[in-house]
Amino acid sequence: MENTKNKKSFSFHIIKREQTVWYKGLAIRAAAVLLALVVSGIVITLLTDKNPLAVYKSMWSGAFGMDIRVWSLFQDVAILLCISLAVTPAFKMKFWNIGAEGQVLIGGLATVSVMMFLGGKIPLPLLLIIMVVASILAGIIWAVLPAIFKAYWNTNETLFTLMMNYVAIQLVSYFLKVFVKTGSGVLFPMPEFGFPVLFGQPYLLNIIIVVALTIAVYIYLKYTKQGYEISVVGESQNTANYIGINVKKVVIRTLIVSGALCGIAGLLLVGGTNHTINTETAGGRGFTAIMVSWLAKFNPFFMVVTSFIIVFLQKGAQQVSTDFRLPQAISDIVTGIILFFIIGCEFFLNYKIVLSKNGKEND
């Protein structure tokens, strides 16, 4: 491609790269992050009068500045990772499940309802088991409904799952009205019915659960027959049909897995973290998770890295807006620039641009 320079030619085409060697890939990604930092540094200096180095220092301190921040960072990574794991099997199958937000919320709503109505009436271990079952079932119902409609009547799963989000949000609103009789819409937390605290660290159990789930999902996708079926359906439904995979069954079964994992995320958020619920409990993570999953190319271990990057940026951005009294919008711009470069470099890792001579058409 280095010999195709031709001053008269402006046409180019894009071709897919062969597998890039790992160190080259790593170098390109590192360069992209570095470039992103430089560009956002310039933007910061142009928009405000702040020193970009001080801004990066503040970002770092937002994520690692003190013990509580580090724990909170890993807690948020765990939750985002859990939801990313949940959406992955569906996306790998090319089932566009953008309903994770609602599936998480409904899992949380099921958890909080169990805590409200059974809390204190039955022994805590039994209560916890019922919370787990209820949240998983609720998540499954929210995910499997669009899957059944897709499998049997070929409805559009993107719209269906999206709409289910709104239903879940409104249900949370409705039940808050029913649960809280003063009408304030704020449910007082019930930490006494929450997860046990391990070693005095409230987030530790959440983190351990998500680590276990990460390994499980990796094994499920990579080494099981069901995981293989998911890849085949994702690559080509015709191939899947041809080799005798029951596509309907795979779609429904995969969404059961997806929904169950989302339900668990809701359980962790309510039972393990907040001990209450509001319409913001999922906080847009259901959508961010899609980016995490795609950026990691559906590999659960890469997702640890991508979800970490995103949470790190969020925490850092928030600290920047606190330290410099800047509107959060500025930090969001910086986050946007960094993500733009990270996603952009994926393109250059997968494809290369070849300038071609005038009149010489390929293909």
Binding site: M66, I68, R69, S72, S173, Y174, K177, K181, T182, G183, S184, G185, V186, F188, P189, P191, T273, N274, T276, N278, T279, E280, T281, G283, Q318, S321, T322, R325, P327, Q328
Partner: protein, 418 residues
């Protein structure tokens, strides 16, 4: 030189004529605030290592939070606190994030931590128990007087007085419409966009309605709830629905520009909340009441610096400078509004005017003789305290957060779901 000056003056005059000519009539603009400003007195020394942290639910894009943030700027200016001594955390949700942030601020060495949203309360209490040497102050909460923590405090303001005053301005506007023959006395119906069917909102719209009724006896009001404190689209829709139901004046208790924006588009007069929306709604904005949090900030800083105890419940009023009104938009408000409001302010401060005077309203056709409210808010939703005394519903006396949650005749709730 003289010639030049004369020329300059001529040009200036020409321009000012042009400015008047544009709209055909003279632009009167905003009046001065009808309530005299109360000076923030800083009569104490603040040590250099003093720190105060603020936790806000949203950021400056929400009128509710902006009101708190403006007060932060005001107190910083008044006290000369340095930027390092004032830490502001915005966009902190009503969940574990609030507890984390409070802990973060306490670890950074804050002497006072203040949170601004009702849902922050449980998480503030949790942090307060862990950091007994730090003072935790919470706006709009209800638990301080029963929680029994020495370092946890609630605060509010008798904003129902501010709303009553804004209601007077609304009533006068209705009278003007009736006199001009635009509507009949029976058609004097106001619309109100509320967030939740919660005492804070009910107390707010009822005092607004009673203010209007005090000058325009035939007034009625429709209330539409949105089920959210901040939802621009829902608030806009609610305001539009009310306008379609022939409400001739709109007010709101929700935190976005949704309702005032819809009013400006439909040219329906609007009484705002949390601050002036005059800039974006010059054709319809009448007046806005708001809570100024600067006096409370001043009070808690003074207490901590002087080693005094902070009250478990603090409710600021007009005298403290906590309840304030913006200027009145004289292009929209009825003539004489400023004078009338000044008169009512005097009545409220000397006690001759009472907002919830039981003689001025009825509940289910009857005068209110007794009402037992759920003041302790222990989660039992059971009434516990008699609040009607001496012919008045005593709002914000038994605790700082409002507890008036009655259905007064003349107000129709269009939806009850929230």
């Amino acid at each position: 030189m003289k010639k030049l000056l004369a020329l300059l003056l001529t040009v200036v005059m020409l321009f000012s004529f042009a400015a008047c000519g544009e709209n055909g009539s003279e632009h009167l603009g905003m009046s001065d605030a009808p309530i005299d400003a109360v000076e923030v007195k800083v009569d104490y020394e603040i040590p250099d290592d003093f720190k105060i942290g603020f936790i806000c639910l949203h950021d400056e894009n929400s009128t509710y939070d902006l009101n708190f943030l403006n007060a932060v700027d005001a107190i910083q200016k008044a006290t000369g606190l340095k930027d390092e001594q004032v830490i502001v955390k915005t966009n902190i949700g009503e969940d574990d994030a609030c507890y984390n942030t409070a802990k973060d601020l306490a670890t950074q060495g804050c002497d006072i931590i203040f949170a601004n949203s009702f849902g922050h309360e449980a998480f503030m209490i949790k942090a307060a128990k862990e950091f007994p040497e730090v003072e935790f102050c919470h706006a709009t909460g209800t638990k301080a007087h029963t929680e029994g923590l020495a370092n946890y405090h609630n605060a509010f303001a008798s904003i129902y007085e501010g709303r009553y005053l804004a209601g007077v301005a609304a009533g006068m506007k209705l009278n003007e419409m009736i006199e001009a023959g635009k509507i009949t006395a029976e058609e004097a119906k106001m619309g109100y966009v509320g967030a939740f069917t919660y005492a804070e909102v009910i107390s707010g719209y009822t005092s607004f309605y009673l203010g209007a009724k005090s000058v325009c006896p035939s007034v009625t009001m429709d209330v539409q709830f949105t089920g959210s404190w901040y939802d621009p689209t829902e608030e806009k829709n609610a305001a539009e629905a009310l306008i379609a139901k022939k409400c001739v004046l709109i007010s709101q208790h929700a935190d976005s520009m949704g309702a005032p924006g819809a009013c400006e588009a439909a040219l329906v007069p609007n009484v705002s909340y949390n601050g002036a929306t005059y800039e974006s709604c010059p054709e319809t904005f009448i007046v806005s009441s708001k809570i100024d949090w600067t006096p409370y900030y001043n009070y808690i800083i003074k207490c901590v610096v002087n080693g005094e105890k902070i009250a478990a419940d603090w409710c600021g009023g007009i005298a403290e400078g906590s309840v304030v009104l913006t200027g009145i938009n004289q292009d929209v408000a009825a003539e004489g509004t400023v004078a009338k409001i000044k008169e009512v302010v005097k009545g409220l401060t000397d006690g001759t005017v009472k907002v919830f005077d039981t003689k001025t309203f009825t509940v289910a056709g009857k005068e209110l003789a007794s009402y037992v409210a759920d003041v302790d808010d222990m989660g039992d939703y059971a009434p516990d305290t008699e609040v009607v005394e001496n012919g008045e519903f005593n709002e914000s006396v038994k605790r700082s957060a409002p507890y008036f949650d009655l259905k007064v005749d003349g107000i129709t709730r269009l939806n009850e779901k929230f």
